[in-house]
Amino acid sequence: MRPLSAPPRPRAIKDPAPSKWGYRWQRMMLTPGFRIAVRVGTPMILIAVIVGTWTAKPENRALFADHVAQAKAAVQQRPEFMVTDMQVTGADAAIIADVQRVLPVTFPVSSFDLDLEDMRATVAALNAVQEATVRVGEGGALVVEVTPRQPVAIWRAGQTLKLIDANGVFAGVIESRADRRDLPLIAGDGAQTNIDEALALFRAASPIATRVRGLVRMGERRWDMVLDRGQRILLPEEGARAAIDRVIALNDAQDLLKRDVAVVDMRNPARATLRMTTEAANAMRRVSDTGTGE
């Protein structure tokens, strides 16, 4: 019997010619510029679209920021980056205590969280510190290298005794004069700004150093040298050094300062003036009365 279903018809031979648009597409794809645009541009646009859609939602952005922060913390909290203690070098105990007081770092801390420049500025701002270097050293130590200020004189301001260095900068406080007998004492307004001059005067007065109590700045323009027994040497505004030399020469020749002199006024360089103590003046007056009376 013949099969009831029709035999499969042989398919018509397909037209081998490309369609007009297929042909154009192929030619387009053979154009180098277009090919590069498709090969590179399409993935880039796709990626941009995906990223853009994802980040359009705020919770996604937050999630991303959270992930970034976690990853950052994971790296920063590694033991290699941890700082565990502080070493202060080049300073005495008082300064070390000060440094530890102004650097309130709670150890351990990651070195990424330390603002070294800020810490250096803080330490350098201490009175007793001239220069400071802060770095993270080996073994997780925060190394603070301190160059302390060298006090050259004591400045009495009211009842407090302050240390000042060669630049006239305040370098600390002492309780009593006895703490730093090696340093000369200065006082008066503007004394700290003329520290060089004061030191030169102290050096000039070295022959009578045992008697010198200190220098007092008078009227912010000239110095008085105060000796023990309440003696004062009033120095001129200019040529103070020469005046000191003259007083020392007088002292060497006539033991001027051992006598009952209250004030040696050298303010007029041409004429040194002495003021005697009251008792000496009275005694002298009596002696002259007696002398004239005889």
């Binding site: 037209d15 010619a17 490309p18 042909y23 192929q26 030619r27 053979l30 154009t31």
Partner: protein, 444 residues
């Protein structure tokens, strides 16, 4: 005439631009197949060192990087018959060739065989008064050639100077720089039907391609299949194509005559189809497998199954002897060759010093054709295959591709045509204003 001059010149410029870009396509629009080759031009010195091959008369400047063939549709007698179909066939071929070359081509040089080519011999003379022949004189002498009235519906396809004579000295290839009184030239002009060119032009345009040159397929087949001495001494190339048979006569390396017989291999197939009552496809297959023109006693015994799918056993199991097949094919082949003979006689081929006849084209592969052709056309007959060019696939080296291969040579180094020389200015003084405007347009 002037339009054609301009359009040919535009095509020549486009060809130069394409060569600058380095890629150009060759399109052989035939009746039975359409072949497309993609050429890459990369300078004459490119392959010389590695290959040890000389310049091959300039052919080594290019390389075939893509080749495709497709069955032609919509073409009859070498002319576009159904434009849509032809366009599709061209697209198929171009796309496949582009795919193989992996490069986009924008310019094509096309050739076709039909369009009733007609040859004219022109001569011109100009007085140069004892001066030196210059480029301008060449242009002038060609402009002085008297152009016959070839009809308004026809276009000049080729117009090549084939000979120059200076006073009594003739046979010069290049008279420039020589001194004489009168310069004369002989030109060969080939005209074809204008509508055919237009149809082909539109077909190619519809494929988004620019036409960068046109050639007669008889001419380019001659370029590729005639060897140098044949071209020099005189020979005829018979391009036996599918729908038409092109004839081109060469002498002194110039084409001096071209014609076409509007019969070809497809007519043989048609005869077989009608004679054996088989479809064209079967007839084509039988022709290619068993065809011949010289019957021997053996052929009476060689039976060919011609098949069929009518369901009628008697009809589907028919056989014919090969002798019968040859009996169908031979008269048609003879007719074609006789017609060629008539054309060659009309052209005065027997007066050439050498009368070599070269058979090429797809139909020249019929076994025994050279023997038959020798009887009709003369003793000096050989079968020709196209020159080998670089990169051509093996499948495209057969005689069927002599037109396409010749077109590659034509693209690489075309002969000087009329329009390659400047028209001397004094031939159109009335247009000087127009020229001034054109000069401004060109330069600004």
């Amino acid at each position: 005439m002037r339009d054609l001059y301009d359009s040919q010149r535009a095509m020549r410029n486009m060809r130069k631009a394409a060569m600058q870009r380095g890629v150009i396509a060759i399109l052989d629009v035939g009746t039975s197949k359409i072949a497309c080759l993609v050429l890459r031009f990369d300078g004459p010195e490119r392959f010389r060192d590695s290959d040890g091959i000389g310049s091959l008369a300039g052919q080594s400047s290019f390389r075939v990087i893509g080749a495709a063939t497709t069955r032609s549709r919509g073409v009859r007698f070498g002319e576009v018959d159904a434009m849509q179909e032809t366009e599709r066939a061209i697209r198929t071929a171009v796309q496949a060739a582009q795919k193989m070359a992996n490069v986009r081509v924008d310019h094509v040089i096309a050739c076709f065989s039909g369009a009733r080519p007609r040859s004219y011999g022109l001569d011109g003379a100009v007085d140069i008064a004892g001066g030196v022949v210059t480029d301008g004189d060449i242009g002038r002498v060609m402009a002085a050639a008297e152009v016959p009235d070839y009809g308004a519906d026809r276009h000049v396809l080729h117009a090549q100077p084939v000979n120059f004579a200076l006073d009594h000295r003739s046979g010069m290839a290049d008279p420039r720089g020589q001194i004489g009184n009168q310069l004369t030239t002989d030109m060969h002009m080939l005209t074809v039907d204008a509508t055919v060119i237009q149809n082909l032009f539109f077909c190619i345009r519809r494929c988004d391609l620019e036409l960068a040159g046109l050639a007669s397929s008889a001419y380019v087949a001659g370029i590729s299949s005639l060897v140098e001495d044949e071209q020099e001494l005189g020979s005829a190339c018979i391009d036996l194509g599918g729908g038409s048979t092109g004839i081109s006569v060469f002498m002194k390396k110039h084409m001096i005559y071209a014609d076409a017989v509007r019969m070809g291999g497809d007519h043989v197939t048609g005869d077989i189809s009608m004679g054996l009552q088989v479809p064209m496809a079967t007839a084509e297959r039988i022709k290619t497998f068993y065809g011949g023109v010289m019957a021997t006693g053996m052929d009476d015994r060689e039976m060919i199954e011609i098949g069929g799918d009518t369901g009628d056993w008697e009809r589907d199991r028919r056989t014919v002897s090969r002798a019968e097949l040859i009996g169908i094919m031979r008269p048609r082949i003879e007719e074609i060759l006789e017609e060629v003979r008539v054309r060659l006689d009309a052209a005065g081929f027997e007066y050439l010093p050498s009368q070599q006849i070269v058979l090429t084209g797809g139909a020249s592969q019929i076994p025994g054709l050279d023997g038959l052709a020798a009887k009709i056309l003369g003793q000096q007959v050989r079968l020709g295959r196209p020159l080998r060019v670089q990169g051509l696939p093996q499948a495209a080296t057969g005689p069927a591709f002599s037109g396409a291969v010749g077109l590659t040579l034509f693209a690489a180094n075309p002969q000087d045509e009329w329009w390659d020389f400047d028209i001397p200015a004094d031939t159109y003084p009335a247009r000087s204003l127009k020229r001034a405007v054109k000069w401004f347009k060109d330069n600004w």
